[in-house]
């Protein structure tokens, strides 16, 4: 059986899923001061109905790193960076212990200027004097040649509790993002390690010996052991867990809009041919763009508790929340109250809702029920416009070949899936606003925990083969090896798959087939010098996409 735990902002949800159905579910309030207690409480609830030995796998989604960053509980990080020529260092300087060192590597990976040991020594000394124990080692073009990052790591190793090493975080090119990713990764590292240690101890105490994976923002998981070196990847995994829950609960194979309607906001995601879309570069953390990949979502300030206001005869919904609905003892009329008035909702005390809307309507001369209908319609149109805006933005994303430009896919949603508290109440008006069929999956209220339980490992690699230099590299797996001049694009694709599979096997990740690995990019460019081909520049990028454990899908439907 699989145990999924989602430590969310308000509640911690857990579900226990076997191939024949959901065996247990738990919901406990999240204690922000003690996330560990929330996790233990949820596990305790689950174990009332389930034997700990039956648990084969635990997947955990936690807000720990998210909270650490929001609350600025960040450990000081010594950043040791070589930038070389290019954009002004102001664009990538981060933290109070940022040391920009001499040294430069160019786009082909040639070391153009060495990193002087004396400068490095001085920077390390300065960090030591300041009591800094965790570090980031990042150089420009390190995915092309990590030599200077390795030099920094060698110098730091005796003194460091932890070092985030740029090229191991991602093979993608973006130096300022690599710097910020390394910074946040190190800044949350200690808090994360302490938490994971405590969770693992708690789990063992409950008599569970199953392996544990951690959810990421891209809708997939990583082994807990791996997460100890990339804790930043555990950020913002909650929304992704919910989206993967929808994937588990529904049979989606078309372009679709996914809405998660909460009390104050609605999260919007878009699926292409049934698969969630992931940010190509990464999300921003603390205002800094990073290389942390995440499911693309947009948030709009409209939810069930959004206040309904009449201003100069005009209706306005949200973005403010003043409390729950009137029907639940709140201070002002909300969308939920509007639902009570139109009859689509039966929440709390409907007379309070009716009284509130009578008062609102008095100023307008419109019938209260009509006003409530209009309020809901207006709110749903705003959600629709935000979703259309996201689709337009995604369709405008650049492409780089004539083939893609002329024949590329255009997203065109055919279906809307809705989850969250007010989902059922708003389904009909959403269908009106979108002009599309709307589905509210039966178990959408625990979609987050189901998604957490059933989602699988994701991973991506970028491979570069340069037959002029006779070298192949996969930066985030720290692989560099010799190749022959005859090495081809097909060889490179095969090597990419092989190395990715080997890595997954080393992590004891089971049931990964070769055909689950998707080749996202495979290009071979001739390198010409004086009209002669001197080699090929081959680029392959492979990924294991977010997906749901197929054997358990029927269990949750």
């Amino acid at each position: 059986m699989l145990l999924g735990i989602d430590v969310g902002g308000t509640h911690t949800d857990a579900v226990m899923i076997a191939t024949n159905g959901i065996h247990a579910a738990a919901k406990v309030p999240t204690d922000h001061e003690d996330l560990l207690a929330s996790v233990n409480a949820a596990i305790g609830e689950i174990l009332r109905d389930v034997d700990p030995d039956a648990i084969r796998q635990i997947n955990l989604s936690t807000t720990l790193t998210t909270n650490a960053i929001i609350e600025e509980k960040l450990e000081p990080v010594g950043m040791l960076v070589t930038g070389g020529p290019g954009i002004a260092p102001g664009h990538y300087t981060i933290g109070r212990h940022f040391h920009l060192l001499r040294g430069a590597i160019d786009h082909r990976g040639t070391e153009q200027e060495p990193l002087p040991d004396a400068e490095l020594d001085a920077a390390v000394e300065a960090c030591r004097a300041a009591g800094v124990r965790v570090f980031g080692a990042v150089t420009k073009f390190s995915p092309r040649n990590p030599v200077q990052e390795e030099q920094i790591v060698r110098r730091l190793q005796p003194d460091a509790d932890f070092i985030s090493i740029g090229h191991t975080l991602s093979g993608r090119l973006n130096f300022p993002r690599r710097v910020a990713t390394a910074f946040y990764n190190s800044a949350v590292w200690r808090a994360y390690i302490d938490f994971i240690d405590a969770v693992e101890t708690g789990v063992r105490k409950h008599g569970i010996s199953a392996r544990m994976d951690i959810l990421k923002a891209d809708g997939g998981t990583m082994p807990a052991a791996v997460s100890r070196t990339v804790p930043v990847q555990s950020i913002l995994s909650g929304p992704a867990a919910s989206i993967m829950g929808i994937v588990a609960l529904c049979d989606i194979d078309e372009d679709a809009v996914i809405l998660d309607i909460g009390g104050t906001t609605t999260d919007i995601a878009v699926f292409a041919d049934g698969a969630p879309l992931v940010e190509p570069d990464g999300i921003a953390i603390g205002g800094h763009p990073t290389l942390v990949r995440a499911v693309i979502t947009r948030s709009i300030g409209i939810g069930g508790d959004s206040e309904v206001v009449v201003e100069n005869g005009d209706l306005r919904i949200g973005p403010r929340r003043r409390g729950p609905a009137l029907a639940c003892g709140g201070p002002v009329p909300t969308l939920i109250d509007a639902g009570n008035v139109t009859g689509t909702a039966q929440v709390g005390n409907p007379t309070a809702s009716a009284a509130g809307f009578r008062e609102l309507a008095a100023a307008t001369g419109i019938d209260p029920e009509e006003l409530a209908r209009r309020a809901i319609a207006r709110a749903m149109e705003q959600i629709r416009d935000a979703a259309h805006g996201l689709v337009t933005e995604l369709n405008a994303r650049p492409v780089y070949t004539i083939h893609e430009l002329l024949t590329g896919k255009t997203l065109s949603p055919r279906q809307v899936y809705v989850m969250g508290g007010p989902a059922a109440v708003l389904a009909e008006p959403l269908a009106q606003a979108f002009g599309l069929p709307v589905t509210v999956p039966a178990r959408h209220a625990v979609a987050n925990a189901i998604g957490a339980a059933l989602t699988r490992t994701t991973m991506e690699i970028e491979l570069l083969a340069d037959t002029e230099r006779k070298e192949l590299s996969i930066p985030n797996l720290d692989i560099r090896q010799k190749i022959s001049f005859q090495f081809t694009l097909a060889d490179a694709v095969a090597a990419g798959r092989e190395h990715l599979l080997a890595f997954l096997r080393r992590q004891q990740i089971e049931d990964i087939d070769d055909d689950m690995i998707q080749v996202v990019e495979a290009d071979s460019f001739n390198m010409i010098s004086n009209y002669f081909t001197v080699g090929r520049n081959i680029r392959v990028s492979c990924q294991l996409k977010p997906s749901i454990r197929a054997a358990y899908r029927e269990a949750v439907r």
């Binding site: 290019g86 300022p176 650049p398 004539i402 520049n537």
Partner: protein, 447 residues
């Protein structure tokens, strides 16, 4: 260093699946290392900088600029329509105020493509800048436009298209035509009889360095722009003046290109040539992007940049001093307009399409007119296509030039001499093409 950031839209389209041929300089990976550099520097994350997809230029956008013989499809591939479309997208973003500045980093280039197109010359089939200029005039109501061509080769195509047009200022800085393709662009080429002074050529000696280029900017380009007062300035941004370029002989650097763009402050830049794809383009393109966006570019330099080694000689500096004085003298005291209004000025041209191996003989007649760019009639015969005639009633043509155009079209049809008769009627927003076999005209309206 300027700190006021501008919103810069970059239309980056490397066309990774297109080449003239496998070892041609204009091949798939020309912008590959530029993309690596721009990504690694995080350019697209800088405040105000955005990336955009190019549109595909429509046949109508091309046909109001060029006489394609026999037709657009015969002389272009989708790559050309996307490069020209990218230039239009740059203009559209600026005119719709979505950005303040736009850079179309597209390929293939276009500045060697002339009014009449039989094929590809100097790697160009369609003139991307001209397609963009006519978009600005036809669809955005812009009237006065300046194109500053900083490619190392003379922009002979752009010069040919705007030779007679007093409202489009064309300034070209390039390596002296006596030492490089296409062998034109001398100081005395300063515009046709209806547009004297609206073409400015600055042929620079080989080994001109940053100092020389920036001197020319300060003493010639900026004062002439100041006097012309364009609504829109376009940089035809070739990067083959770079000291590492394999097919030219100049000593210009990435920092120099950035500084040039800071001084010029163009609304729109369109990539032209530049074939040092590893040693130059990643850095020149980075410098131009930062300069256009008003970001600090002081740390942009090539790995092998050595200002001492690249310093231009005293002889080159002296030569450029004299050259600047000569160009400004011609600008201040242009020759009186030649010819008599109502008569035709005639020029004969031999054109070689190096990529396609086509030779063309042209006789161009332009009606001398003080009120517009003048009716233009081109008789063309190429090794690939028999004698044909092209009639252009220009943008904002005066009434008598319009009437003359209609009369000459009738005469051409009646003469039975031409395999093709082509018409661009800008005031009538109409282009037509008649073949000698056609009984009825194939008419295309671009509006």
């Amino acid at each position: 260093m300027s700190t006021d950031h501008r919103r810069l839209g970059i239309i980056f389209f490397p066309a990774y699946d297109w080449a003239i041929d496998a070892t041609h300089p204009e091949r798939e990976e020309r912008l590959l290392y530029t993309q690596d550099q721009l990504r690694e520097e995080g350019i697209f994350d800088l405040p105000g900088i955005s990336e955009h997809k190019p549109e595909v230029a429509t046949a109508g956008m091309i046909e109001r600029v060029h006489f394609c013989i026999p037709e657009v499809d015969a002389v272009t591939t989708p790559s050309h329509l996307i490069a020209a479309g990218g230039a239009v997208t740059a203009a559209r973003l600026v005119m719709e105020k979505k950005v303040d500045r736009a850079f179309a980093m597209v390929r293939p280039p276009g500045h060697h493509a002339m009014k009449v197109v039989h094929g590809n010359r100097g790697f160009c089939s369609l003139n991307n800048e001209a397609v963009l200029v006519e978009y600005l005039r036809e669809e955005c109501g812009v009237r006065r436009i300046a194109i500053v061509d900083t490619d190392c080769h003379h922009g002979d195509g752009t010069q040919d298209i705007y030779w007679h047009d007093p409202e489009v200022l064309f300034i070209s800085l390039h390596q002296d035509g006596r030492t490089i393709f296409p062998g034109t662009g001398f100081v005395r080429e300063n515009g046709g009889p209806n547009a004297i002074g609206a073409t400015v050529n600055i042929p620079l000696p080989p080994q001109t360095g940053d100092e020389g280029f920036l001197t020319v900017m300060e003493r010639v380009v900026l004062p002439i722009l100041e006097a012309f007062k364009p609504e829109i300035v376009i940089n035809s941004a070739g990067q083959d003046n770079h000291y590492t370029d394999p097919i030219t002989n100049m000593s210009f650097s990435a920092a120099g290109y950035a500084r040039l763009n800071e001084m010029l402050n163009p609304h729109i830049a369109v990539l032209e040539g530049g074939y040092a794809i590893q040693g130059a383009l990643p850095y020149t393109n980075l410098g131009i992007c930062l300069a256009m966006a008003g970001h600090d570019f002081s740390a942009v330099r090539e790995p092998d940049y050595d200002p001492e080694r690249l310093r231009q000689s005293a002889r080159v500096s002296e030569y450029i001093d004299t050259l600047c004085a000569q160009v400004m003298e011609l600008h201040r005291r242009p020759p009186a307009p030649a010819g008599t209004p109502g008569e035709f000025a005639v020029r004969d041209k031999s054109i070689y399409y190096d990529t396609d191996g086509i030779t063309e003989e042209q006789t161009e007649r332009v009606l001398i007119c003080r009120a517009c760019a003048g009716l233009r009639i081109i008789e063309t015969r190429a090794s690939s296509f028999p004698l044909s005639i092209c009639i252009e009633i220009p943008f904002a043509a005066c009434r008598s030039c319009r009437e003359a155009g209609e009369k000459h079209l009738r005469e051409a049809k009646n003469s039975l001499r031409y395999r093709l008769i082509k018409l661009i009627d800008r005031p009538g927003k109409n282009v037509e093409s008649f073949s000698d076999q056609d009984v009825s005209p194939r008419s295309k309206y671009f509006f």
